[in-house]
Amino acid sequence: MASSTELSSVASPNPSESDDKIVLSLRAAGNAPQLKHKKFAVEKDRSVAWVVQWLCQKLKIEEGETMFVYVQQAFAPPLDTDLETLYKNYGTGDKLVLTYCKTQAWG
Amino acid sequence: MSDGDSSWKLHILRKLRERNSKETSCFKELILSHGRLFDQVENLKKDITRLEYQNNELERDLREGGGSTGGGANKLNKRVEDLQERLLTRTDEVSEARRATADAMVKVTELSSQVRSKDDEISKKETQINNLTNVQRKLEEKINTLEESMKNNSSTHSRLMDEHSELQLEFNSQDRKLKDLQLENDRLRAEVMKMKAEEADRMNKITESEKAAREKDIKKQIEEATKPKQSIVETKSAKKASSPDFIDPAAVYPSIIPEKVFFSTEAHEGEISALSFSLDGHFLATGGADKVIKVWRVLQTEEKVELVAPLHGSGASIMSVQFDHINKYVLAASNDFATRLWTLGDQRPRHTLTGHTAKVFSAKFMDDSQRVITGSQDKTLKIWDLKQRRCVKTLFAGSSCCDLVHAHVLGNMIISGHWDKKIRFWDLRVSSVNPSHELAIQGRVTSLSLFPERFMLLCSTRDDTSLRLIDLRQNAITSTFSGFNLSTDWSRASFSPDGQYVAVGGSDGIIHIWEAMTGRAHKVKKDVSVHNRDIVACCWHPKGQVFASVDRSKKLAVWKR
């Protein structure tokens, strides 16, 4: 399980980039709860599954429910895809935008 | 994507197929077969367990039914029977099913063969259809070509129609033009005729007035000369176109009957057809087929005939020859359709009168040699004015004119003899171009000779070879002399200057002479050395003492008593 110590949540809108961190911008969709801060720098080796776990934890999602994560509001990437690959291919500008939703939205 | 790129496509395809053969094809059959066996095994296993289970149950039943064996046995037996029945029915069903299958298979083969035959039929029909479509296509092509050619034809046709109508219009306008021109032509002709007639009238009037003047003169002279009381018969001379040199035949120049030839010669190089003395008898002219006229001087007293000169210039045979009243000109009609005048003095041709469209057979002077009248094979007579040197009138005879004479005694009259056995009389005082009257005789006229004092016309005819004497006042034939044969169509007979005799040369070389009044025949002895045969023309010297004859053997003979 991911530990929250690995999170570096930055309040400022421009979190710093480092070589092994990807800036995520997490947007809520549907009836998913909003995050207080949207942008996070995450290690690039993390997988989508890790992001889902982290989101469930952060948003205090109950057991049994799950979260769907979408890229480009078009598709849900396989859970074992790493963030670096996602950012390189589908990142916009200096970040990777992910949309999360409790129900299937675009997939 | 060009074909050059498809080499890698083919390469990829080939690689895929290779892969398939390695990975798939080898194992396909095997795995399928294995799968089937596997399934079979599973099924069999299932069957075994089921049967085992059944078996167990049966054993259990058997064991349970062991207490009451009979009942148990019965139950078992029943069960066995049941099972046997069921087995039988099942077997029956199986065999039924098998039979049904067999039937079905047979039906299937039947149906498939039917299908095959139907397929054959279909393919046959298809080929038929193909053939028919081909035929139809060909026919359509034909139709197209025919339509095209028809279109071409109709366009050509319309083009031709247009051309035709154009030409029709052209023709119409040209026709109209022609009609106009023809009318114009007729009008001009009529005018010309009118003018010619007026001209002739005027000329006649002039000559008449001149004649009247001259007659007055002569009358005066005669009156002055009547003292010596010469019996110059003058009564009819008022009608005569007289000139001072006119020899009055009644001034007693009795004509001889020729008996002896005192001069003969081969006058021409061909047959001689024309012969004439001059009015004063000094000259003799002969014309022949050699196109030459020879003028001879006749010295009557010395009984000598000398050649004066030949006259050349004609293009063909000379048919008639005549001196004018003053021996200035010689007039000759020729077969070259022209009439010519030579001056006697220098023997040079002076005028050529052209206009006839065929041979001119006879030409005679009129009106003091101011006018000439010609008769031609072209069935016309033409009057020529020598001053104007052209034809002033054309008379339409309707038949070839062989000979003509100008008769003063009947007024200004021309008498012409024609091949259609008619003699035509033309009154020149009227402007008509038609004869005033005609006289029909029994043969083609070859020559005419006039004795004006007694109004006698001698005419020789070919078909029933005879000479006829015609009284002009009575307009009837008075005598006929026959017994000879004419040698040519243009043989000339003549009166003697005193009117006593008529002579004609025969084809037998004899000169036949009759007395005009009595009809008594005199035959002149044949002088074989001179005329062997075919005498063409003969005539007396104006003074009657000499006679000349010419024949087809180029001979000229001059006779005396």
């Binding site: 599954a49 890229v71 480009q72 078009a74 598709f75 849900a76 990437p77 396989p78 859970l79 074992d80 790493d82 690959t85 390189k88 291919n89 589908y90 299937q104 675009w106 997939g107 | 994507m1 790129d5 890698w8 496509k9 083919l10 390469h11 990829i12 395809l13 690689k15 895929l16 197929r17 290779e18 892969r19 398939n20 990975e23 798939t24 080898c26 194992f27 396909k28 095997l30 795995i31 294995h34 799968g35 596997f38 095994v41």
Partner: protein, 268 residues
């Protein structure tokens, strides 16, 4: 020859697999009879979960697997990711093995660290459709697939699970054309490169005037240290000529999810 031939060969490509039950689990379960191995010819473009039912039927009882015991497969020591098409796994693992490819069927000790949890056929369907949408996002900005009706999605998935060529291509053809239905070069060509033991690589490459060789060059540029001289880029088990037009390769040699899943292995 039409280009459909390549598509047909790709679709018909099958690999011979023999499934055997894990000896270990069998022993643990105390089973005496060793079940016969099951031989199958699996389509390269299909997915292993589609035969899970049959395998479960055959083997679950032998190891007394309960409903909670989820089936999973391995080759040798390597668990096989169920969301990869069969062909990728075969090219990755089985190139130098004797055929048929022997795969072990497990029911116990699901390796959650290595492979994703399999909740059922819906998971596979969802994964497939997601990959399809991702591919279309790369090709057309997702505009074409947005037009698809649920029945079209259903037909696509059914044609995969029934392995029906015509049904699949009747819908999939649309994804080869733009929203107007015309042929147009894709914006980006969807592809992934798989290497044993390494994370999959996915990059962006345009399709206009590019060749398959450009993909290989892109990979070399991304990993300059990789010595590719003794490696080969395999697609559906064959080497693609470097001059092949990438647009054409994407249209004809993609997997059903419209991706070119390229495997980079050592040359044998």
């Amino acid at each position: 020859m039409s280009d459909m031939d390549q598509r047909r060969e790709v679709w018909d490509g099958k690999v011979p697999v023999s499934f055997i039950l894990s000896q270990q689990e069998l022993q643990q379960a105390g089973g005496t009879t060793i079940p016969e191995p099951v031989f199958m010819l699996l389509p390269r473009v299909s997915y292993f979960p589609l035969v899970y039912d049959k395998l479960v039927k055959l083997y679950a009882r032998a190891v007394s697997a309960s409903l909670d015991d989820k089936i999973w497969l391995s080759y040798g020591p390597s668990p096989l990711k169920w969301h990869y098409p069969v062909g990728i796994l075969f090219d990755l693992f089985a190139r130098s093995t004797e055929l048929p490819w022997e795969i072990t069927v497990h029911f116990k000790d699901y390796p959650t660290d290595d492979i994703l949890i399999y909740e059922g056929k819906e998971a596979l369907e969802g994964h497939f459709l997601s990959k399809l949408k991702e591919a279309d996002w790369l090709k057309h900005g997702a505009k074409v697939i947005q037009q698809f009706t649920p029945s079209e999605f259903g037909k696509l998935w059914q044609s995969i699970s029934q392995h029906h060529f015509e049904d699949f291509w009747s819908v999939n053809q649309k994804l080869m054309l733009n929203i107007k239905g015309e042929m147009e070069p894709f914006k980006f060509v969807p592809f992934s490169i798989y290497r044993e033991g390494k994370r999959l690589y996915q990059g962006l490459i345009a399709s206009q005037d590019t060749t398959f060789g450009d993909v290989m060059n892109l990979y070399q540029k991304e990993f300059p240290s990789a010595s590719l001289a003794d490696h080969q880029f395999l697609l559906h088990g064959i080497e693609i000529p470097a001059v092949a037009h990438l647009q054409w390769v994407s249209e004809h040699l993609s997997y059903p999810d419209n991706f070119l899943h390229i495997v980079l292995t050592r040359k044998t």
